[in-house]
């Protein structure tokens, strides 16, 4: 690891100032992605700005018709939260299957979505449930947050503080985990809010995306049978040593049906 300075301010405004003043400073949340990256010398930040001392960012609370999850809430906290389990059990279940217990005890929702790994699980939930990402300065719609491979709408120095998930009559995630890492080779989140059905796919492309044809079929009839015969176009899907594009397209179909039943 290259050397760096370390700051852990308790005020969010100090965090934003440090990150804005130096574009080579990096925010540190659970460290489960950032620290392995530093160990491999894939990044060389001048300083790490630790978010863990800012109060209130771990809270998970019911709010209006939904739940607000603080950016520093760990995957384990979301998985075990009574509020999330009562309102969106599918979201708690998603969190319970990220990585392994040690990763879940440290990794955070804010870090996961800011990192925008194409194989991360949370992006599918944010897009399918039409979540709203709150930062130190504004609200960003889930649909606009993920802009590409490891790319988000966050500006220099912008810090995610919480994510609001509206409740849903149906919300379920199914993934095909990579047997070694548990990241999604493909993962599908199906949500129904009123008459609106969203099917969000992660792991299969460079970034999370919606499967329009499946949404149309499910809007007409919300049943796994409605998807029989529907195959995702594999053009532009990921192909790697784990699975080629055609295989990923196939498992997305299987997972979408599992996420309904």
């Amino acid at each position: 690891m290259y050397g760096f300075d370390y700051h852990r301010p308790a005020a969010l405004s100090d965090i934003v100032d440090l990150l804005t003043a130096d574009e080579d400073a990096k925010l540190l949340a659970g460290g489960q992605t950032l620290i392995p990256t530093l160990k491999q010398r894939l990044a060389m930040p001048t300083s790490l700005v630790d978010l863990s001392a800012v109060p209130g960012l771990r809270e998970i609370v019911a709010e209006g018709d939904g739940v607000r999850i603080g950016a520093m809430a760990t995957h384990a906290a979301v998985a075990g939260s009574e509020v999330v389990r009562a309102m969106l059990p599918g979201l708690a279940d998603l969190a319970a299957h990220i990585g392994d217990p040690q990763v879940r005890n440290r990794g955070t929702i804010g870090g996961s979505i800011a990192n925008a790994d194409p194989a991360a699980d949370y992006p599918a939930a944010l897009v399918a449930l039409d979540a709203v990402i709150r930062t130190d300065r504004r609200d960003i719609a889930g649909a606009e947050f993920f802009t590409g491979l490891f790319e988000t709408a966050l500006l220099l120095g912008e810090v995610v503080t919480s994510v609001f998930f509206p409740a849903a009559s149906h919300a379920r995630y199914a993934k095909f985990p990579n047997p070694a890492s548990r990241y999604a080779m493909a993962g599908v989140f199906v949500a129904k809010q009123g008459d609106v059905v969203r099917v969000a796919v992660t792991g299969a492309g460079p970034s999370v995306f919606r499967w329009d044809a499946a949404e149309a079929a499910l809007s007409a009839r919300f049943s796994a049978d409605a998807l029989v015969g529907l195959v995702l176009d594999d053009d532009g899907l990921n192909s790697d040593m784990h699975a080629d594009a055609a295989y990923r397209a196939h498992i997305v179909g299987v997972l979408a049906r599992r996420a309904i039943a």
Binding site: R8, G31, D50, A76, R106
Partner: protein, 158 residues
């Protein structure tokens, strides 16, 4: 830059000035001589370095020592009973041949202790899923699963 940190390790207070890039695993092994915490990979995947941070299992190679400031750290050296009696989970690993070379064992035992406290049941599938963060290159896991079930039962009864 060096940063002053104060934490508790196996019940004893520790104060140090550390380089921010020092990993918790390096603090434990190189500075405190607690070499029971093993380092088996560079990719945060093997779990040999698992310790408890404020009661929850974490990979000490994927955490900076400065992040443990103010925390309570428990390592494999800190779990035995008074006068060195093996912890029930350690005893179960010995009894059920849950180890061969022993490299993964400290991390397995620390992970298994958390599993014993938190798992809703001790079915084989629950145990295997609960140990997903710990890799073993020797045993094939069969006896580890047996050991963890027995150790967890002993912990729950004791």
């Amino acid at each position: 830059m060096s940063v002053a940190i104060t934490l508790t390790v196996n019940g004893a207070p520790v104060s140090r000035e550390v380089d921010p890039r020092l990993l918790l695993s390096q603090l434990l092994r190189d500075e405190l001589g607690l070499t029971g915490t093993h380092v088996g990979c560079d990719t945060s995947q093997c779990g040999a370095c698992t310790v408890h941070l404020d009661g929850a299992s974490v990979k000490s190679c994927a955490m900076l020592a400065v992040q443990a400031d103010g925390s309570d750290v428990l390592t494999i050296e800190g779990i035995a009973g008074p006068n060195g009696a093996l912890h029930p989970m350690q005893a179960a690993f010995r009894e059920h041949h849950g180890l061969q070379c022993g490299f993964c064992t400290p991390g397995m035992v620390m992970g298994a202790i958390e599993l014993a406290r938190t798992a809703p049941d001790l079915e084989e599938a629950t145990i295997r899923e609960g140990l997903e963060g710990n890799l073993c290159r020797c045993t094939g896991y069969q006896n580890i699963v047996k050991a963890v079930r027995a150790g967890a039962q002993a912990m729950r009864e004791g």
